[in-house]
Amino acid sequence: MDYDPMIMDTEASGPSVKITEAGAHNVDFELQHVDLSFANSLRRVILAEVPTMAIDLVEFSANTSVLADEFIAHRLGMVPLNSKNVDDVAYSRDCENCTDRCEACSVTLNLHARCTGDDIMRVYARDLVVDGARANQWVGTPVITDPEGLGTVICKLRKGQELNVKCIAKKGIAKEHAKWAPTSAVGFEYDPHNRLRHTDLWYEEDPAKEWPPSKYANQEEPPQEGEPFDYDAVPERFYFEVESVGNLDPDAIIQQGIKVLQQKLASVIQTVTEGEGGDSNGMNGGGDYADGPRSPDTGMNGSGWQNPGYETPYGGGNASAWGGGAGAATPYGATPYGQNHTNGWS
């Protein structure tokens, strides 16, 4: 098995990247000579799996404002927090130093405001004060980008009203909650002339006249009049527009995204190789995987897949459809390949 996937893809050139525009909060680039599936993986990972910081717990000591506690707690969660070098912060759920949370896995922000004047007082994101130690000097500071340096309005107070809260910011990913999203938008486009017919353009008379040309239309040759459809063509150039919320630099988002993807792969490799070592059948190839190499989920309080209260057809409870079976059923149980060897084709 010696071949180079990069070369095979692209006649010697390999993947390439060209940045077309970059600013403090956005980067537009063109990714070439990779497969659509990889480009899409990159997009998905940037959108949903790059870790950032956001307020996750709010403890109210006083709230006499007109907004309910949960309303304010939600607003606080949405405030973007600087997440530079979040790798220094541990995930609270698997922090080794503590059972609950500590400086290594969270940042505490305090907000105390009381209106004493007759005018309406506005509480801004800049009023959030980082309290105590944190993993590095950036992490957890509210992102403030407006010229006045105020940040977002969190609440408004009238005379005598008070807001005193302690916020705990944690590391997380947008797959769990959108407040952890590093981007406000990831533009992703390929094949501006729709030569591959991956999309059907709705039209009344002529799609070419009715649809405005794509922003990238001049990057690629338009199809010739009467040109036959190329069934073998695959998309090759992908135009990304990554726009940061402000908590991470746009280039850091992309590099982190790739890293997250690699970490996923690395952890699968680890399971694959570990399974090989311990089991002569290959990874775990028998039917006994219900009590086999499925390690209990770390830190899941012993529930996880063994939880008898939750059973799906696949879900891995011992009572599940395949947990107890002696044969080698596949998830494709109904296919010829998926039969138990006791009754299959012999």
């Binding site: 098995m1 071949y3 996937p5 095979m8 390999g14 990247v17 060209k18 940045i19 970059a22 680039f29 599936s37 990889f38 899409n40 993986s41 990159l42 799996e49 717990l57 403890e59 000591s61 006083a62 709230n63 759920r93 698997d94 059972t99 705990i168 997380g172 990913i173 769990e176 280039d251 992309i254 590099q255 790739i258 993807l261 690699q262 970490q263 996923k264 952890s267 699968v268 490799i269 399971t271 694959v272 059948n281 290959g282 775990n284 190839g285 499925r294 989920d297 830190g299 899941m300 529930s303 939750y310 696949y314 080698a328 596949t330 998830p331 494709y332 390949y337 060897h341 299959g344 084709w345």
Partner: protein
């Protein structure tokens, strides 16, 4: 108007002999409830994968195209992000005859990959009629490693493009 009684104050006022209260987690720190259905936990929890591999050699002889060269892998808490890219890169492997992935149900965080490899005729007299060009497990492992390498290349290219863009801006 005095502020409403809030968790923090309630905690302070709680009688100290209330054992359950002192044992309880702090008011600002509810017990760590890990939701197994939380899609995010896969990133931190252990990656789980299991194989469904047919191993009955007899079947294999009778029905070419099945079994020893074929395996399915089930990935927990993975989705199209990994599935599609992995499928693509495994298909690039010349030993692989077929690779496909599916997500059986959208509300179960499971992703399945099926890999079938090419087989060759066994040498006569050795007993083995067929042998695999490479096992599905090897193909999977190679695919994973290739994808990591591809990621490395793209990172490198991206950094290069950044530098290029920086110098262009200065010029």
């Amino acid at each position: 108007m005095p502020p409403k009684s809030k968790p923090a104050e309630a905690k302070a006022a709680a009688p100290s002999e209330d054992v359950s209260m002192t044992d309880a987690p702090e008011a600002d720190s509810p017990p760590l409830i890990l939701d197994e259905h939380n899609p995010a936990i896969m990133a931190f929890g252990q990656q789980r994968i299991r194989t469904v591999e047919e191993q009955d050699a007899d079947l294999l002889i009778q029905l070419p195209g099945s079994h020893e060269f074929a395996a399915s892998f089930e990935f927990t808490k993975e989705d199209h992000t990994l599935g599609n890219a992995l499928r693509y890169i495994i298909m690039k492997n010349p030993d692989v005859e077929f690779c496909g992935y599916s997500i059986p149900h959208p509300s179960e965080e499971l992703m399945n990959i099926r890999i079938q490899t090419y087989k060759s005729r066994g040498v006569e007299g050795t007993g083995a009629n067929w042998f695999a060009e490479g096992t599905p497990t090897e193909a999977l492992e190679k695919g994973l490693n290739d994808l990591i390498d591809l990621c490395d290349v793209v990172t490198e290219k991206f950094q290069g493009a950044q530098e290029e863009y920086g110098t262009k801006m200065k010029a």
